[in-house]
C-alpha cells in the first residue's frame, strides 16, 4: 500500500541511487585502471641505496590522460589517483620542502613551495620569498620587489617575519631567490636579478646579507654580472649560473658558480634553453670559467682547471655542480662517459676524475645527476614502453657502481603501450 | 399558513413558516405551534420534530429552535419523556388556554382595527358574520 502510494518517490529515489552508485563505482574503476602501476626494478646492486629516493615526473597517454607521478622503491603514486583531499592539499609530487607543511604547519602558511627559498638546519628554518608590487603609470609599469623573510627558531617555536624592499635604483624586471643560507646569525640571500640598462639586458648574481637582529639588509655583494645586447645583431651570449643544487635546503658554505661564453653557430639560429638555464645544443661554447664563493668570508676564488678538463667542458652541454662539506664537484658527459671533477674546498685543487661509463650502462644523455653524501645518483629523464628509464647509483669516492635499476610497468598489457613518461626530479631524503 | 392533513408524514409534522424579520424567531415558532394546537392540526400527544429537524425544516438557527422548545416546555405546550421525542401536550386545560389566548388575541386585533375606523359594533359584527361564512365556504371549496 505504502509502495503503491509513494511509487513516484520510491522509483525516482531508487533510480537515482542505483545509477549514481553504478556511475561512481565505474568511474573509480576507470580512474584506478587509467594509469599503470610503475616500479623501480633492480637490475643489480644494493637495493638499500634507493630506499629513500622519490622520482617524480609526468605520465602521458594517447587518449590525453596525463598525470604527475611519483615513483619510489615501494611503487608509484599518481596525482589523479589521490583522494579528493590529498589532491586539494598536497604539493605533488612532494619536493624537498613538502614535508615542512606537516611539521611546521603555521609557519608554512602562504609560502611558496620552492626549495630554493628555504634553509633548514637543527635550530632554524628560514624562508625568503619575493613579492612584487606593480604600479602603472600610463603605459609604463613600475615594479617594486620585496623580500618576504620569515625565520623560525625551532627551539622557541617563534618566528620572525618581516618584509624588506630589495635595494637598488634600477627598475628590476626580474628578481629570483636562488638560495638562502644562514651564516652566523645573518641571512645570505643568493639572488638572481635582471634589468635593462642602456638597452642592454643585465644579469647579476647577488648575495644580500640580512641582519636578523635588526631585520635590515646590511650588505650586498655582486658575485657575477653580465650585460647582453638585446638587439637582434648580437652573435654571442654570456651566461652566468649557480651550479649548487638549487633544490638543496641544507647548510652550504660555498657557492659554485659558472660563467660561460656562447657563440652563435653559423648554421643554427634557434635559441633553446632547458629549465636549469643551461644552454643546450645549437650553441658553441667558447669559454667556461668556474668560481667558488665562501659565504662566510665572502672570498671569491676562480677554479683552475687543466687544459684537458677545460677542452672537454667546452664540448659538452650537460654541466652540473654539487657540493658537500669538503668538496665541490662538477659533472659533465663526454663521449659516453659521465665525468666527475673533484675539487677540494681547502685549497681549490682538482683531484683525480671519477668516470662512469654510460655506453656500458646503456644510458642516454638526457639525465639528471644528483649527489647525496658520498653517492651520485643518475636518472634518465625519458622513458617509454620500449626503453625504460634507468636509475644508477655510484660511489663518489671509488667510482664503483652501487646500484642499477630501471622504472618499469607492473603487469604490462598491450593496451598501455602508447604512453610516455618524463621524469624531472629526484628527491633523496 | 394553511396546513393539510396530507402533509403529516409518519407522525412527523412538516412545516413551513413565513417569518418576519423583526420579531424574535423563537416567538414566531411558538406562535406557530400555538396556532397549530388551537386549530387541532397538532393533536394532543402527537410527536413533533426534534430541535435539529425543526431548525432544518424552517431554515432557522438550531439554537433558536432549542429556545422555542424550551419555552414551550415551560409553558406546558409540549413535553418530553426521558429520551423519547417531544410531544404535544395532552393537557386539555392548556390546549383550551392556548385556544382562548389566540381567539382573544384575534379579537383584540379586530377591535383595535374597527375602533380605529369608527365602525359601530353591530354593523361590524354583521359584516363579520357574512364574510366569515363566505371565507369558510371558499376555503373548503379550494381544498
Amino acid at each position: 500500500m505504502l509502495v503503491k502510494r509513494f511509487w513516484k518517490l520510491i522509483t525516482l529515489t531508487i533510480v537515482i541511487i542505483v545509477v549514481l552508485i553504478a556511475y561512481f563505482i565505474q568511474t573509480s574503476l576507470v580512474v584506478a585502471n587509467q594509469f599503470p602501476e610503475l616500479e623501480l626494478k633492480t637490475i643489480s646492486g644494493d637495493e638499500s641505496v634507493i630506499k629513500n629516493i622519490q622520482i617524480s615526473g609526468d605520465y602521458y597517454d594517447q587518449s590525453n590522460y596525463s598525470s604527475a607521478v611519483m615513483v619510489t622503491d615501494e611503487g608509484s603514486t599518481y596525482r589523479e589517483k589521490l583522494s579528493y583531499f590529498e589532491y586539494l592539499e598536497a604539493t605533488f609530487p612532494p619536493n624537498e620542502v613538502a614535508s615542512f607543511k606537516d611539521e611546521y604547519r603555521n609557519f608554512m602558511r602562504n609560502k611558496w613551495m620552492s626549495p630554493s627559498s628555504y634553509f633548514d638546519n637543527e635550530e632554524y628554518l628560514a624562508y625568503v620569498g619575493v613579492d612584487v608590487a606593480t604600479e602603472r603609470f600610463n603605459t609604463i609599469y613600475h615594479h617594486d620587489y620585496f623580500f618576504e623573510v620569515d625565520v623560525l627558531n625551532k627551539t622557541t617555536n617563534k618566528s620572525n617575519a618581516f618584509k624588506i624592499k630589495v635595494p637598488g635604483q634600477a627598475d628590476y624586471s626580474d628578481v629570483q631567490v636562488m638560495d638562502v643560507q644562514l651564516v652566523n646569525g645573518e641571512l645570505k640571500v643568493v639572488t638572481d636579478i635582471g634589468y635593462y640598462h642602456n638597452e642592454q639586458h643585465v644579469y647579476e648574481l647577488m648575495v644580500y646579507t640580512i641582519d636578523l637582529s635588526t631585520n635590515k639588509i646590511t650588505g650586498d655583494d655582486t658575485l657575477l654580472a653580465v650585460e647582453n645586447n638585446e638587439e637582434g645583431d648580437w652573435d654571442g651570449w654570456t651566461d652566468i649560473s649557480l651550479l649548487n643544487d638549487y633544490r638543496d635546503i641544507s647548510e652550504q658554505k660555498y657557492l659554485l658558480l659558472q660563467k660561460s661564453e656562447n657563440k652563435k653557430p653559423e648554421s643554427v639560429s634557434q635559441e633553446s634553453h632547458n629549465e636549469d638555464g643551461v644552454v643546450e645544443a645549437g650553441w658553441g661554447v667558447t669559454d667556461r670559467a668556474f668560481f667558488l664563493y665562501n659565504l662566510e668570508t665572502e672570498e671569491f676564488n676562480p677554479i683552475n682547471l687543466s687544459d684537458i678538463h677545460r677542452n672537454e667542458l667546452l664540448s659538452t652541454d650537460d654541466v652540473t655542480g654539487h657540493m658537500n662539506d669538503s668538496h665541490a664537484y662538477i659533472t659533465y658527459v663526454i663521449e659516453g662517459k659521465l665525468k666527475v671533477l673533484d675539487i677540494r674546498l681547502d685549497d681549490f685543487s682538482v683531484g683525480s676524475d671519477i668516470v662512469f661509463n654510460w655506453d656500458e650502462l646503456d644510458i642516454s644523455d638526457a639525465t639528471q645527476v644528483k649527489m647525496n653524501e658520498d653517492k651520485i645518483y643518475v636518472m634518465e629523464r625519458f622513458k617509454n614502453y620500449k626503453d625504460p628509464a634507468k636509475v644508477i647509483v655510484g660511489d663518489m669516492a671509488t667510482g664503483d657502481l652501487l646500484y642499477e635499476g630501471e622504472i618499469v610497468m607492473k603487469d604490462v598489457d598491450d593496451e598501455t603501450e602508447n604512453y610516455e613518461l618524463q621524469f624531472y626530479n629526484m628527491v633523496i631524503n | 399558513m394553511v396546513r393539510n392533513e396530507s402533509l403529516r408524514k409518519l407522525g412527523v409534522v412538516t412545516m413551513n413558516i413565513k417569518f418576519n424579520n423583526r420579531d424574535p424567531v423563537y416567538v414566531q415558532v411558538i406562535q406557530h405551534f400555538k396556532e397549530q394546537i388551537a386549530t387541532g392540526l397538532f393533536e394532543p400527544g402527537q410527536e413533533i420534530p426534534s430541535r435539529r429537524e425543526l431548525a432544518n425544516q424552517l431554515k432557522i438557527n438550531p439554537n433558536t429552535a432549542q429556545r422555542a422548545y424550551k419555552e414551550m416546555e415551560e409553558q406546558g405546550l409540549i413535553f418530553t419523556e426521558r429520551n423519547l421525542p417531544s410531544r404535544i401536550t395532552r393537557d386539555e386545560a392548556v390546549i383550551k388556554t392556548v385556544r382562548e389566548e389566540l381567539i382573544l388575541e384575534a379579537v383584540n386585533t379586530f377591535i383595535a382595527s374597527v375602533q380605529s375606523i369608527n365602525v359601530p359594533l353591530d354593523e361590524a359584527l354583521d359584516l363579520v358574520k357574512d364574510n366569515f361564512d363566505k371565507a369558510k365556504d371558499g376555503q373548503e371549496g379550494d381544498a
Binding site: 518517490l9 537515482i16 586539494l88 | -
Partner: protein
Amino acid sequence: MMSYLKLTNFELSRFFKMYLVLIGITLVMQTLSVVWTANNYLGEINEQLSSGSTVEEAINGWGLFSFDFITRGFWFSAPILLCIASLLIYVFFIWYRDWLGKNTFAYRLFMLPTARLNVFLAKATAIFLMVLGLISIQLVFLTIENELMKMIVPNTFREDLTINEIINGFDYLRVLYPVSFIQFFINYGIGFMAVIVVFTGILFERSFRWKGIILGVLFSGIALIVFFLPILLHETILNHFFYPTELFILMLISGLIVIAGSIWMSNYLLNKKIRV
C-alpha cells in the same frame, strides 16, 4: 516525517507528467541526433568510397566516428538545456503555482496540520530529486545511445568511448558528472543551497510582495557573501592564510550556515509573515 514524505510525493506528482515529457523529449531528440549524426557521417564516407577512395583514405579524411561527434551537436545538448531551463523555472513556479489562478492551493498547504516548514522542505526535496533523477536518467540514456551508435556505425569507422571518456570530452557534462564523489557532492550541494536561498527569496516576496523582492534580493546577497566569506577573507585581508583543506572546511561550514540560516528564515516567514 510522514507528512514530509507525503508532501514530497505530492509535489513530485504535480510535476510528474511534465517531468516525463522532459525525459521523453530528451530520449527522442538525442536518439534522433545519434541516428542523424551517424548516418550523415556514413553518407560522407560512402560518397568518398564510391568515388574510388580506399577505406584508409576515407578515415583519414573524415576521422573515426566517436560519440563526441554526437555530444558536440546541438540536438544532443538542446534537451539537456531544456531540462535545466525547465527545472530552473520550476524552482519559482513550484511556489507561485500555489497562489496563481482561482484555486489558491496555498490555502490548503498552509492549513495542513503539520509544520509549514515541511511544505518548504518537500518542495526543495522534490526539486532536488527531479534534478538528480534527470541526471541519472541522462546517464542511462548516454549508455543506450552509445550502444545504438555502435549498432549503426561499423567497427572500422568507429572509435569507441567509455561513458567516462564521453563525459570528459565535453565541458558541461563534466560539471554535471564530476569524477569524484566529493566533487559531485560539492556541485550539487551548492545547487541545493542555491535552491534553498531562492526559495527563501520567494517567501520574502510572498510575505511582503514588492518590498519583499528587495528583501529577497538583499537576503540572497547576504547569503552569497556569507558563503564566499572564507574565500573573500582568504584572498584579501588574510593574505592566503588558509590551506586548501581548511578553506574547504570553512566553505563547508559557511555553506551549512547559509542553508541553516535560509531554512530558519523560511520557517519564520512561513509561520509569521506569509500571506495567502
